[in-house]
């Protein structure tokens, strides 16, 4: 558990426009070096965006030619400590499939995976998923809430000690330590269990963004990390306090949910300038840290890691290196699996 003195830092790889002619393999190598650089610097996690599939002429013109969960799996094999979080849409995937994909990613990465879900509906997406009309705002909220409950329920369907591997006795697992979900709800009906073992970090980390005021209770009940868009410090502080109050009201430890603020790094500025800005916002908003949005360019991560981070460390605002091996442990969340 951290004492609030140091911040948590995530970097977000944002798709932007670039020429698609660069070819796939160098593209992955470049992303791998980006993640490795962030890892060498001891950052908590890399967030992999998954842009809403666009309809229109510019659709193929993305920076990253990979879908985020497949990219996460590949990056997991070329890193060993940093957390890896992929955005995945509740419209594009059935909850069983999504829960299973992330449970598997968590085992591939030895407990470093997270799912970034957004409460905001991407209207363009619906047109490619047989939902031309999309969902009403209210339906979408209730559906997302139900969806998240299913995913988190499936993630805990197998007890950590369920696998016996007892060759002689012929008992592979203990059937009493495997639990059906038996969910029957308004939008989904899911029996379970997953056919993937329990996560090495108890369960994948849930990151939520795109919250409107009416989503705060859902977030307070389910999220491990909440991302807030960059806004004036007083507004952020108010949202953060409101969220932590709601977390406590749900009987959860307020420290079990980390509130991170999105930040666009000012490029070309003085490194001390960004460090000042982060310090100032960290203190004035009482947030738990930042999600630095950057283009998937090595120069962007290089600048941040080589120039800004030493400054934050000099001021004791960011920890030196990793203490544990799982994403939960980096974030100071409970149930990290390697205490």
């Amino acid at each position: 558990m951290d004492n609030g003195a140091t911040m948590h830092l995530a970097v977000s790889l944002c798709p932007g426009t670039t020429d698609a002619s660069r070819g796939a393999e160098p593209e992955f190598d470049r992303l791998a070096r980006f993640a490795q650089k962030a890892e060498a610097a001891g950052l908590d996690m890399v967030l992999l965006a998954d842009a809403a599939p666009a309809s229109g002429g510019d659709a193929a013109n993305r920076q990253v030619p990979f879908e985020a969960t497949t990219l996460l799996a590949a990056l997991a094999t070329v890193t060993s400590r940093i957390g890896l979080v992929a955005m995945a849409s509740t419209v594009a995937h059935q909850p069983y499939n999504l829960a299973r994909r992330f449970a598997s990613l968590d085992i591939i990465s030895h407990g470093r995976a997270g799912w970034h879900a957004t409460m905001a509906q991407a209207p363009r997406e619906a047109a490619n998923f047989s939902r031309p009309g999309g969902f009403s705002r209210d339906d979408f909220r209730r559906r997302t809430e139900e969806y998240i409950g299913i995913v988190q329920g499936l993630w805990t369907g197998w007890d950590a000690d369920a696998l016996l591997f007892d060759k002689g006795g012929g008992r592979f697992h203990d059937p009493d330590r495997m639990h059906l979900l038996d969910h029957k709800g308004e939008f989904f009906s899911v029996r379970g269990p997953l056919n993937v073992a329990r996560s090495p970090q108890d369960r994948p980390v849930l990151v939520l963004s795109g919250l409107s005021v009416s989503d705060m209770d859902i977030a307070a009940r389910t999220a491990d990390v909440i991302l807030l868009e960059e806004r004036p410090a007083e507004e952020t502080k108010a949202s953060r306090d409101d969220l932590k109050r709601r977390v406590a009201a749900r009987g959860r430890d307020p420290d079990a949910v980390k509130v991170l603020m999105d930040v666009l790094p000012v490029t070309g500025g003085e490194p001390a300038g960004l460090a000042d800005k982060l310090e100032e916002q960290f203190r004035s908003t009482s947030c738990d840290g930042f999600n630095i949005l950057m283009p998937a360019e090595l120069s962007a991560i290089d600048d941040f890691v080589d120039l800004v981070l030493p400054e934050l460390r000099r001021r004791d605002l960011f920890r030196q290196g990793y203490r544990g091996a799982t994403l939960r442990s980096h974030l100071g969340l409970g149930g990290g699996g390697d205490q």
Partner: protein, 423 residues
């Protein structure tokens, strides 16, 4: 290609701790396979060093056994989800093809097309999709409350699904007005937000064996997997499927048919037999019978005397072809439920060969040259030992005979398989 230079294609079919139902209990089986990514990276490298065309992952979105007690005696209840597994393997290998199964019943075509295209980019053009319609009630219960849809409905959805996926991969659904798909099950505007596949489009694989399944394969597949025990069955399937291609304007060589083969190979025949018997001894009766029940799509086989014959069975909405195969074998060889259960548990209805490398190669050669196969999907009994045995004993024997490549001819899966690049 001339008959003399035609070479067989080989798939390495990965499955939990091994294809034998009791594999995980074998002293040399890697029992923690389902939670050990390094184990899979090692298997992939072994198969790639042996120049296999592809790795193949089967899939089901749910448990395999309805009975939790039975499930707990097998290693098949937990494992990696295959698309994440193959994405990890994509950047840890450089040549071998990567084929994952995914269901048309529980996915949407846009998402699936996008995910496989991403795997294709990660691997530099080595991805393939095995289209299945998912015949299990257990899976159905994870996706709604209405149960398994009828066979014909599943295949109608699959046909439309495949059409949308290939339309997206080939850039036909490009988001321009009027180009979108608006069908019975799906409405998709397109385009995909990823660049075109390095191999034109990921490879399409299918393993349907019913009449409608074969038609879908003839229409859409580049590769077909099948289960066939005898030469005659394999040949009949091969001729039937190749014969359906002309109706879709395709040529016989446009589809590679790769039946499953479950070899148990050792330096001597006696050792191979011993290895096989050792595995068979490890199958608990209740597990064998449960597995047989699932192939027959009936729930209560355990009610019948285990040393008696199979009861009369009603028609099934599940896997029609697999049921027919089991019934035929039981009649032909006059087998009891126990005998059938052991037999099918061992190789899961696929073709079993027990012997030396030369004996295994003889049999593969006979089917390959006899016009019953373009290659084989190799199903090692347990991992890693039996994949190693095939790679070090059988592959060199096939290479000596000129029946299998000594090095990859190209870089993409289409190139390995000798498939045309789609326009």
């Amino acid at each position: 290609m001339t008959a003399a230079s035609r070479q067989m294609k080989l798939g390495a079919f990965l499955w939990a701790t091994g294809h034998h139902i009791a594999a995980w209990r074998h002293p040399q089986a890697h029992v923690t396979a389902g939670i050990d990514i390094d184990h899979y990276i090692q298997l992939a490298r072994t198969a790639e060093a042996a120049k296999f065309d592809l790795l193949f992952c089967e899939d089901a979105a749910g448990l395999r056994e309805a009975d939790v007690g039975i499930a707990s005696q097998t290693s098949r209840s937990i494992g990696f989800e295959p698309i994440s597994l193959l994405s990890a393997l994509a950047v840890q290998t450089s040549r071998i093809g990567l084929v994952s199964t995914a269901s048309t019943s529980y996915n949407e075509p846009y998402g699936l097309a996008r995910t496989f295209l991403s795997l294709d980019h990660l691997s530099g053009g080595r991805a393939g999709w095995n289209l299945v319609t998912s015949a299990s009630q257990i899976e159905a219960a994870n996706f709604g409350s209405t149960g398994l849809r009828p066979h014909a409905d599943r295949y109608e959805r699959a046909r439309e699904f495949a059409e949308v996926v290939t339309g997206l991969w080939h850039g036909k659904l490009d988001g321009t007005s009027g180009s979108g798909h608006d069908g019975q099950s799906f409405s998709v505007r397109g385009p995909l937000d990823l660049p075109r596949s390095p191999q034109g489009a990921p490879v399409m694989v299918q393993a349907g064996a019913s009449d409608v399944g074969r038609d879908l394969a003839a229409r859409t597949a580049d590769v077909v997997f099948t289960a066939a025990q005898t030469f005659e069955e394999a040949k009949a399937f091969y001729d039937d499927l190749k014969g359906r291609l002309a109706a879709y304007g395709r040529e016989r060589d446009d589809i590679k048919i790769m039946p499953g083969v479950a070899p148990v190979v050792a330096e001597t025949e006696a050792e191979a037999r011993e290895k096989y018997e050792e595995l068979q001894e490890l199958i608990p009766d209740d597990v064998g019978v449960a597995l047989l029940s699932s192939y027959l799509s009936i729930a209560d086989l355990w009610r019948y005397p285990i040393d008696g014959p199979l009861p009369e069975l009603p028609a099934t909405e599940g896997m029609q072809s697999r049921q027919a195969l089991v019934i035929e074998q039981s009649r032909r060889d006059n087998l009891s439920i126990r005998q059938l259960a052991r037999h099918f548990a061992g190789a899961r209805g696929h073709w079993r060969i027990v012997g030396t490398a030369a004996q295994v190669a003889d049999e593969l050669q006979a089917r390959f040259e006899g016009g019953a196969a373009d290659g084989f999907n190799v199903m090692p009994s347990y991992f890693p030992g039996e994949l190693d045995a095939f790679a070090t004993l059988v592959v060199p024997e096939l290479q000596r005979r000129g029946l299998f490549r000594k090095d990859y001819e190209g870089h993409t899966l289409r190139e390995h398989l000798g498939l045309r690049r789609p326009a």
